[in-house]
């Protein structure tokens, strides 16, 4: 059915506003990174008059940002690897085994998924210091599990539930063990869910700010978000480099989003809202 003209005008008008609203800050980020300092601070122009990559070169050479990117990558990939294995085990156990107390664990996992890190960071900091893990990447790899595992377990529980248990039961009738059925039937069938949970886990760890700010204190152990936020207070004419750094820090997430777009949208809806 064709919409009346007034509705179509309103729809496209609003859409244009929303697109503009989202586009302007993105435009500002990208053009800033490509402008010369003269364009930024002296003769202002909306577009870069002589586009340059010097800010990217500087942020890598002077600020050694690649080191911080590597730190972020090490933390996020370690956390993700552990998270996917541990969450798949937990979700399989809760969904497919029968023993007392598993509903309560499931509820507690959901409770933690919703509970914000801000409630826990003071005591986590005291614990990390007491364990002698202060100012190490290990402290982040360990504590990030506290939010990635509940998130991914909850997501995978939903995924595993959507796959009929009869498939595994048939395999078991044919002589497969329950664990064998997990590896041969359930995991291959839930590959999209596993990919989505890995993407989410990596993204959560890559973007985490508060714990990284509290636990790490020098430039060699900082993850990207902390390093960039420290640069803000450092120098006044830093914005070209900062926006270049922000773009570099967004690239891994952009790539993951591009690869897994349909999983991400599905997962957002399934994990957060539909349950």
């Amino acid at each position: 059915m064709r919409e009346p003209l007034s509705i179509r005008v309103l729809t496209y008008g609003l859409l244009a506003c929303f697109v503009l609203m989202v586009a302007v800050p993105l435009f500002w980020m990208v053009t800033t990174a490509l402008k010369t300092n003269k364009d930024l601070y002296e003769d202002f122009s909306y577009l870069p008059s002589r586009p340059t990559l010097q800010h990217f070169v500087r942020v890598i050479q002077r600020e050694d940002l690649l080191r911080n990117i590597w730190n972020s990558f090490a933390v996020a990939s370690t956390t993700t690897a552990v998270t996917v294995v541990v969450s798949a085990m937990a979700a399989f156990s809760i969904v497919r085994y029968r023993y007392r107390g598993r509903e309560w664990i499931g509820r507690f996992i959901l409770f933690k998924y919703v509970l914000p890190t801000a409630m826990l960071f003071v005591s986590l900091y005291a614990i990390v210091v007491a364990l002698g893990l202060g100012n190490t990447l290990k402290s982040l790899m360990l504590t990030y599990l506290s939010f990635t595992v509940p998130f991914c377990t909850w997501m995978l529980m939903g995924y595993f539930r959507s796959i009929p248990a009869e498939l595994e039961e048939h395999a078991m009738v044919d002589g497969c063990t329950k664990i064998g059925a997990l590896f041969r039937i359930l995991l291959p069938l839930s590959a999209p869910g596993l990919v989505a949970s890995a993407i989410f886990s990596f993204t959560l760890a890559w973007n985490e700010f508060l714990l990284a700010l509290v636990f790490t204190s020098d430039h060699t152990t900082m993850t990207v978000p902390i390093k960039l936020s420290m640069m803000v207070v450092g120098d006044q004419y830093i914005w070209g480099q900062l926006m270049a750094g922000a773009i570099l820090a967004s690239i891994p997430i952009a790539v993951l989003y591009f690869i897994g777009q349909r999983f991400v949208v599905k997962g957002l809806a399934a994990g957060a809202v539909k349950g």
């Binding site: 497919r96 409770f111 506290s146 595992v149 922000a246 539909k274």
Partner: protein, 313 residues
């Protein structure tokens, strides 16, 4: 050989197996628990223990590097009497409620637009989701630079359009700082509302709208009597989740204003950070978050129950 009783009944004559059934069930139970063990250990070590340890800390005078002594309610009395605490209470409330209202309205409008038959819908949906997908710290750094009083885009644009006489110090003026933080945060978080509402709208049957149209219902009546009721559950979950996340947001304030100017944007997470990590007084910092705990736990329980209901249904 962990086999469910049900499949045994189907597969094998049962007499020969009844003896072994208890042991296979026990073994099944053991496997199930073993698979859950790493998660349980993690939850105990990194969630339960810190959770109660934080409450304990709030009754001690612990600082970094010292063992805390029990001091009773001293921290609480100190914190409550502190002017920064009441500022944080009010600011957290203002920030949460205003940001929620903006995100709700914009999110609903975006969802309604994306739910229409528009060309390139998939592209626009992916594009409008970008602020939510970008790392939060990147978003707030960009906004800090947008707000820059001397070289920021907003001031250049406002001056060029002739809308203001002189540059505005968005983030360092008491009258504009909170509004600026709220806008930056709403920009980042509205797509969560939009995408959730859109997912909900797409589950509402088209027949309802067709029938309403036949009966001569206006657009507004259709929205009011079909779309909104169809979204009640999702609206509840999204508002609760977002209340929790917004009230506990740290990055927008830390990266944009640091709580200033003169506590105009001091929210409670920022106050906990300042007390614990800047002043190194962990006991008092823990007392602040403990004071917010009852409210937060109530919200978290409510959303947990709502989500659980949906998952069980």
């Amino acid at each position: 050989m962990a086999i469910r009783p049900r499949s045994i009944d189907v597969a094998i004559p049962s007499q020969g197996w009844t003896v072994r059934r208890p042991s296979s069930r026990a073994r099944e139970e053991l496997w199930g628990k073993a698979l859950l063990l790493p998660t349980v250990l993690m939850l105990v070590g990194l969630v339960l223990y810190p959770f109660f340890y934080a409450i304990w800390l709030s009754f001690t005078d612990k600082t970094v590097g010292s063992v805390g002594q029990f001091v009773g309610l001293k921290n609480f009395r100190y914190v409550i009497a502190w002017p920064q605490f009441s500022a944080a209470l009010v600011n957290t409330f203002v920030f949460t409620v205003s940001a929620l209202a903006i995100k709700f309205v914009v999110g609903m409008a975006v969802a309604l637009v994306l739910n229409q038959q528009i060309r390139g819908r998939n592209f626009f949906r992916a594009f409008l989701l970008l602020p939510w997908v970008m790392p939060a710290f990147v978003v707030y750094l960009v906004w800090r630079w947008l707000y820059d009083p001397l070289s920021g885009l907003l001031n250049h644009a406002l001056l060029d359009l002739g809308l203001v006489a002189g540059p505005i110090a968005f983030l360092s003026d008491r009258s504009t700082a909170m509004v600026s933080v709220i806008i930056a945060h709403s920009w980042r978080a509205f797509p969560f509302f939009a995408i959730s509402f859109l997912a909900g709208m797409q589950t509402i049957a088209q027949e309802l709208y067709d029938a309403a149209q036949v009966d001569g219902a206006s657009r507004w009546q259709q929205f009011r009597h079909i779309t909104l009721p169809g979204l009640y559950h999702i609206i509840g979950v999204v508002l609760l989740l977002s209340t929790i996340w917004t009230a506990n947001a740290f990055e927008p304030v830390y990266l944009l204003t640091g709580g200033g100017p003169s506590d105009a944007t001091m929210v409670y997470t920022m106050l906990v950070y300042v007390m614990g990590m800047v002043n190194l007084r962990l006991g008092e910092a823990a007392a602040v978050s403990t004071l917010f705990l009852p409210l937060l736990v109530a919200l978290v329980l409510a959303v947990t129950i709502l989500l659980q209901k949906k998952a069980d249904a």
